[in-house]
Symmetry: D2
């Protein structure tokens, strides 16, 4: 890190900073200009250490130099991580298409749509059994019954299933039913949950929080990886901005950024990212152009009867058309 | 709610919407213009119902009319809620000042600062035993040992204590030690946690999430209240914007908005709201001007040695000056 | 528009609103529920009229129903607008690639890079003669000398040229030199400028302001079109968000949204949209996937010597690779 | 500035950066760590110079050290600037209250409200003659006729008048009528306008752009000051965020930040900052608490008949109540 001293900070304050740096094991380099002194400090810095210097007398600011994440970074591991899910691989150059309704609403309906999305080209199933809802009066999911339906759909279609985990107490139970545990956007910084997911042996689909910087998102992955589970799949699902025409603003530049800064695979959710089904296909194609490893898309037989997220759900027919175009574009990318 | 049909939507689609509204128990009012039909629907709407209509053929958009929160609203309960904490009251016109370090870092240091803030005029103590940290490599709190120190400080100073709850599994334990359970900004939409806090008998300090709209924040309070606990204190602590000079942008307009829309008390955190101790005093005074019921402020004997949030912590001396000014301004407000 | 009355607003207030609506020529439809009355008003509404009702006694809120733009809307003109520039067309299904340095820095350098981008496949040239710079101490452009160089490059390469207009007093002069006048992001709501551009006979490239909603951006186009110039090309160039890793957040969902709401062509600027040359190619490809009509890209022979925007400029070699991939993807889209 | 080299950047690249720095007149300080080299460069940096280094081989990033503004900074001039307007002073510890309708709508109405706000305690008049409106179909102001009315109101009440300038061509004319020229939020980065205002001899009220960082806002002031006019009054009027309950988010922390970074006076606009008259008084009081030098508030005899911004306008009676509380709080602050 770099410590910038205030203009004309007295020699004594510079010495204090220097001394404290040495006490904490940093190598120190002083650059003394006419008006201002800048101190380069090389060593292991943490947030707390940076803050400690920021509050010392005569210090104007402290500038971090290296990124705070380690195990998730390309510098730490230069080859891309490929995550095995069922018989397939995420991040190996293939285009994964995860599809299904927002919530599992009932056995027959789910088994039907599962078959439909499989026939249309989906490679994994999605469906929520526990639903985080803004209102306590909204449908909250079928809970364990929903997980049983997911497992049955998996047996029938052969497709691996993805479902959201909301509470550390449910990890054990969910691992019995699903192939990939999804961390929802609202839980991206539920650090107790992240740490315990680091101890389980399932791949984790880590959605970006609606106001999380890319750096904070990678730090959430770092929690999981540093706790023992390296099988993290990043998922961009839109950030919160002033624009209200779309539900969120899908930040597709996050795709190449994650690829450059980390070794992790990254997929895109154009359904939550836009909130409008008419925008799902164009943004799915845009995500392919940006270089993603997969898509996660909401599909419902009858969006106007969906218990949640109907407006952003594709019909199975529209989903089929989307998959055809995604496949064509994906081929042109390679 | 109001359903706006597309320009020149055919009669048949209008009939379908009308029929479905009646099936769901709504009273229907049609306004047919030359080019466009608008349908007023009066009844109990939920998010899912709105979405259901949004996806029907011929529908351009669905506009909600009434606010989604009920028990938290002024319409539901017109007199202001006053929350008893220790021997004091939050929301009764008094100015509560909650102070202490970001994290409990050790017994002696905490007992010392607790006495200092009491002498300076604090009415409650704060201190984190479990710390949500962006990095897995940062100090995560003293955990139960920290709670014991808090309880000891309470015995000595007589001040009630506030501390953050991060996981539903710890509610029971924390209730043995603290007077107010704080829900941190990152957990504002941890719905499992909110629901279980609704079943405990302690007041809840509910921080606004960094990207939560005021409506979502009130809905989080609604989760707690509708689960059985009406003792909710709202806390504005800054939202995430493009401005980077301050850590967050303290949205003080939330204070009068909460007062107008709900019956709940609201306090302000100028420490997290700005991230810089030089801004804490002016923003505390601004919060008083905005009409808040209290402040929560980080104070540390030696901010440059703090294990977290040093740059935004006041020294006990600066805190004392702040309390004096707050008291003077508060008197001028009444 | 719809006027929602407050819960239990007295009959007299409802009558006043009704009367005022009729006075202003609106057709009125009352929906009286048990607790609340909703008034549908059909007629020509403006912002001022909406605000007038919003402040009347007993009114809770006024909800607009129809979009405020007219001549730019798909409802007004259903076929897509195609804008002729030189011998080419923007919006006819072709992929336009506009390239060149941020600023015209000198005659020889510009003529050289103009030839390079032409050889690599560019269909138009770009280069700033007047530069809006955050700092008064930064390079502000070669002004009229720069325009002369642009005109010379046009004569030599045969490519049309695009350059930014910053002041209404320069429209006349710039029209003598350039083919397309660009309105920069900072001037998107310079209404005097927009109105005067409505009176000139050149196509206008209208960049989205960094904090403009899609609706405000279309309203800016409406200013130009309603003043007499229908040849408007929209350009998405990123919006300002909390994310700081990229210079802006490129909002690619704006591409399909503009296509759905308006009849205007839309191009994308991945250089300003990201601020980092390593992200330009992936985001250019993403823009093609989103369905844009063209790209505008910064290219410089030697980005580290550029007088502005070096970090986001491609070298001619990298630009050539990008054009090849854009062409391949664009073919797969059709 | 500081140049951070990539991990393991070869010696040759480090030498190139060093050489180029010396060529540009910088003093160079190398800090060579085990894995990474950091280069401190002391000298006059500009945006272009920073970008030049950012694109060189082996450079990871360039970190600015000193703020880009000079003449506006406290470092340049430590005593606070006091701006004379009429017989009063802005920034001398007094509380200026500027009031009047959004737009001058007619002679009699304006003269009437001018007298009313004077009687209630206003120290300056405001009123727009040229109105920047999002829609080309909205009322655009009375133009020169409006200025004549402003001048007449000034003669009658003795209060100085403030009005918005939108185009450099009108500076001369406006200076004949008004005492303070206001730069609106949408024109904060209209650099041609700023430069020409630097050549006129009237005080400039510089509103912050809705998506301008504090640094960009100060740079806009720097344009005016460096062009010759040091009489700049800053005005915070809210920034654009995701929150939609208020029209903008009033960033009151900007008040102490401007006071700390610059020597300029700063006032606050709670009318545009909130968009709702019920929030104007609490936010005006909050602004006083934050330490502002004045307020600018919209007042209209009959807000429901206002041609613009009715919902955020106070009635003269409410304005009078506000001034009384502002005066009381302001006294308690000193």
């Amino acid at each position: 890190m770099i410590i910038v001293m205030e203009r004309n900070a007295p020699e004594s304050q510079i010495r204090q900073v220097e001394q404290k740096l040495q006490d904490k094991g940093f190598q120190v380099h002083l650059s003394q200009g006419v008006e201002r002194t800048i101190i380069g400090a090389i060593g292991e810095r943490t947030q707390a250490i940076m803050e400690a210097f920021e509050t010392m007398g005569g210090v104007e600011k402290v500038v971090p130099i290296v990124q705070p994440f380690k195990m998730a970074s390309r510098e730490f591991k230069s080859e891309s991580t490929v995550v095995k899910v069922g018989d397939g691989w995420v991040g190996d150059g293939s285009m994964q298409v995860i599809a299904g309704p927002c919530a599992v609403e009932g056995r027959e309906k789910f088994l039907e749509v599962a078959q439909m999305v499989k026939d249309a080209g989906a490679t994994m199933l999605r469906g929520g059994a526990f639903k985080p809802r803004t209102s306590p009066y909204s449908f909250q999911g079928l809970e364990e019954e929903g997980l049983e339906i997911l497992a049955e759909a998996k047996r029938i279609t052969g497709l691996p299933v993805v479902s959201e985990i909301m509470d550390p107490r449910m990890i054990q139970m969910m691992c019995d039913y699903v192939d990939v545990l999804q961390v929802g956007a609202r839980n991206m910084q539920n650090f107790f949950l992240l740490r315990e997911l680091g101890k389980c042996d399932k791949p984790i689909l880590l959605k970006r929080g609606p106001s999380a910087t890319i750096e904070e998102w990678i730090m959430a992955a770092e929690y999981i990886i540093s706790s023992g589970n390296p099988r993290v799949i990043m998922c961009e699902r839109g950030i919160r901005t002033f624009e209200k025409y779309t539900r969120n603003t899908l930040d597709l530049s996050a795709v190449p950024v994650i690829k450059q800064l980390t070794h992790l695979p990254v997929i895109v959710d154009p359904s939550h990212g836009t909130g409008k089904w008419k925008l799902v296909e164009p943004m799915a194609l845009a995500a392919v152009g940006a270089g993603c490893d997969g898509l996660i898309v909401e599909v419902h037989q009858n969006p106007s009867e969906a218990l949640s997220d109907g407006p952003q759900s594709l019909t199975p027919d529209n989903f089929k058309l989307m998959v055809e175009k995604v496949t064509r574009l994906s081929a042109a990318m390679n």
